[in-house]
Amino acid sequence: MSSPEFASRAATRDADRLAAALAASAPTVETLPVRADLAALFPWGGLRRGGTVVVHRSTALLLALLAEATGAGSWGAVVGLPRLGVVAAAELGVRVERLALVPAPGAELGAVVAALLDGFDVVAVAAPRVADAVARRLSARARGRRAVLLSLGAWPGAEVELRSEGDRWWGLGLGHGHLRGRTALVRARGRGAATRPVQRFVTLQGESIPPPLTHSIIEHMFETSTTAEPGGDR
């Protein structure tokens, strides 16, 4: 073993100790659970109660964030998304029996979201424009009620902003196969504890990409294969 490795190991040990000390001194952060691969995007390893999180552009990412929390007994509400794919939500693990939808809040958006924050652990809002004052009031309400406010689209004063980029699908060929899974690069940045930008490749929907074919896998396939050539029957 070489000395640089020793040095780095010592450094990590120090860092661990520092982190432990900080964790012990800091007030405990209550979180709602999120999927393991998404947990890394948050400094608290989940959705911090009382926080506001912005999700840019991806409804699937929003649903994925709701999944674990509703599975753990929390109720979730989605406001202003008349086009939500409920089947996709269920496939992503959202317990739809604990999901409430308010597709058209109209001019009452502020009052509706405030009312929902009183009773729900997670409230997701999609609104084309939210006035700054209303947004801040709602974020404060979430903080007071220890609920999580998710916004699909910009929201002033958000703690963490998630942006999914560069969707990649697999499974669909030219005239054969079907959509199997989708990976995207999710970037997280924010304020306070979340200042340090994080980015992760995440399987947003479906199965993750199978490992590339290695020699042994191919040999195995040829031994037991009974399937026809892809697309051969079409």
């Binding site: 939808l101 009773g119 729900f120």
Partner: protein, 515 residues
């Protein structure tokens, strides 16, 4: 919605009071509460004595008017023979209030020739067995059926809303006097005009009770929350030390029983809307009567109905041969207490569900009952077909069973965005021609580019399908022939967008987007 016959005995308080007082039927008489007339018979009305007229004035208009005291117990007791008479013709009799009984129409209408025939037999039966005049009406739902009974009409099935539309909003009297006054001042004079308002506006301006009234005016089911069959063990039984044969003892037993039933229901987060009162006499006779109520019954409401029923049995003409040795209350229909009376839902097992329910009710108060939806997954092929959105409080039943196989359903993952209106799409082939699907569910050309809603054509990176869906081809009315296609196109940003397209009637539309 259940189709009901309603048997209505007009001016029942006057009829009952007159019978106790031994008055002839044609003598003008009125029942008076707090010096105001609450009910008057035809003779009195002919002399100008109507509802809400002051006692002094009524006597002035009609000097030989007999003024009778109000007594709900007496009304209920004398009504029992009428309910018994109706029951001889039809099962499932429910007493709505003294003077009004409801019977499900399906059974008797199928047994006798027609609904008109049943109505005639009911009138004859009540006149012969209970010596009372009545009018019979039939319609869908209790509210419409009661209005139909007031007019002696048989409203054809499915046309209750049409029947209600031209009626005056004063049909809501006497329960909703404030609302009626308000509606009339706003110029909404008919139920139809009130029903035409959006439910959301009704909820925001007039409050929760008006939403219920609005449902009634539209001919919708009277109770928004789903009724459900309660578990059997909710019934409460009381075995008195000595058989009950006096009215006072019955009243005492009723109060205790009502308390116990109410507490037990509240413990399950329920409230009762239909109550069966059962009694077994010392000689083994079995008596049973169902009471129905539009509002969930409170403890006092249950006690009243039990007392009325016991009085009816003990003092009626068919009085049992021995005292009542065993009493039993069975909640026939219950509603979720949390949907109507949140205080019933004290803590309980799931405090989070209770909080969420309260918040949803709050939002329904802001936007209207249909504005808060909870999704239920069922069977189906397309991503939209598989979801039914149920207003919070309604029964969560899927539109289609999930069970049978659904050939042509696309495998997971499903689109995360399902457009709420069809987005037209154009699928173009290698030389720019429109790609279609032929009768054998095959594409006419390989898709090369796709344009959504008249936008720019974007190159196709991958595609699969078509998945045929030839639904209910055996039924002309509901048959649908569709083909679905998955395409992956270059998105405007650096990435790929997957779309689910569906072709029906020679047109492509976007059925789902993977956002």
């Amino acid at each position: 919605m259940t189709r009901l016959f309603v048997v209505w005995c007009p001016d029942w308080p006057v009829v009952a009071a007159g019978r106790v007082a031994g008055l002839p039927l044609d003598a003008p008489a009125a029942v008076v509460v707090a010096n105001r007339v609450v009910a008057a018979n035809a003779a009195a009305r002919g002399a100008g004595v109507g509802r809400d007229v002051r006692r002094r004035e009524a006597q002035g208009r009609c000097p030989d008017l007999v003024v009778l005291p109000d007594d709900p117990d007496r009304d209920a007791r004398l009504f029992e023979p009428v309910a018994a008479a109706v029951e001889r013709l039809a099962v499932g009799v429910e007493v709505v209030r003294p003077g009004v009984v409801a019977v499900p129409a399906r059974g008797p209408a199928a047994y006798f020739d027609s609904e008109a025939d049943v109505a005639e037999r009911l009138i004859d039966q009540v006149a012969a067995a209970a010596d009372a005049e009545c009018v019979v009406g039939a319609a869908d739902g209790l509210f419409a059926a009661t209005r139909a009974a007031h007019r002696g009409l048989i409203v054809p099935s499915g046309r209750s809303a049409e029947f209600l539309a031209p009626l005056d909003v004063r049909e809501f009297l006497p329960d909703r006097a404030e609302l009626v006054d308000l509606l009339r001042r706003l110029g909404l004079r008919t139920l139809g005009a009130f029903a035409a308002l959006p439910e959301r506006d009704v909820a925001t301006r007039f409050g929760a009770d008006a939403v219920l009234a609005h449902r009634l005016a539209r001919g919708a089911q009277e109770r928004p929350p789903a009724r459900r069959r309660p578990p059997d063990d909710l019934a409460v039984t009381h075995t008195p030390d000595d058989p009950v044969d006096r009215v006072q003892a019955a009243a005492f037993a009723a109060r205790g029983l009502a308390e116990r039933l109410h507490t037990r229901l509240a413990g399950h987060g329920l409230a009762c809307t239909r109550l069966a009162v059962e009694a077994t006499t010392a000689h083994g006779e079995h008596l049973r009567r169902v009471w129905r109520c539009a509002e969930p019954l409170t403890s006092a409401g249950i006690a009243d109905r039990v007392r009325w029923q016991l009085d009816g049995w003990l003092l009626g003409p068919d009085r049992p041969t021995a005292g009542l040795a065993r009493l039993r209350l069975v909640p026939e229909d219950t509603v979720d207490g949390r949907a109507l009376q949140l205080e019933l839902w004290q803590g309980g097992q799931d405090e989070r569900a209770a909080r969420a329910a309260r918040a949803m009710t709050h939002v329904q108060g802001l936007l209207g009952q249909g504005a808060v939806l909870t999704p239920v997954l069922g069977g189906g092929r397309g991503p939209a077909d598989r979801v039914r959105l149920v207003p919070w409080g309604d029964e969560r039943t899927p539109a289609t069973p999930a069970e049978p196989p659904w050939p042509g359903r696309l495998p997971a993952p499903s689109p995360s965005v399902v457009p709420d209106r069809p987005l037209p799409a154009a699928v173009l082939g290698p030389v720019g021609e429109q790609v279609g699907v032929n009768g054998r569910f095959a594409l006419t050309a390989e898709p090369v580019s796709v344009a959504v809603e008249g936008g720019p054509a974007r190159p196709v990176l991958g595609w699969a399908g078509p998945w045929p869906a030839d639904e209910t081809w055996w039924d002309q009315a509901t048959a649908r022939r569709r083909a679905r296609l998955q395409v992956l196109v270059e998105s405007t940003e650096d990435g790929q967008t997957a779309l689910l397209l569906v072709r029906e009637d020679r047109k492509w539309t976007v059925e789902g987007m993977y956002d």
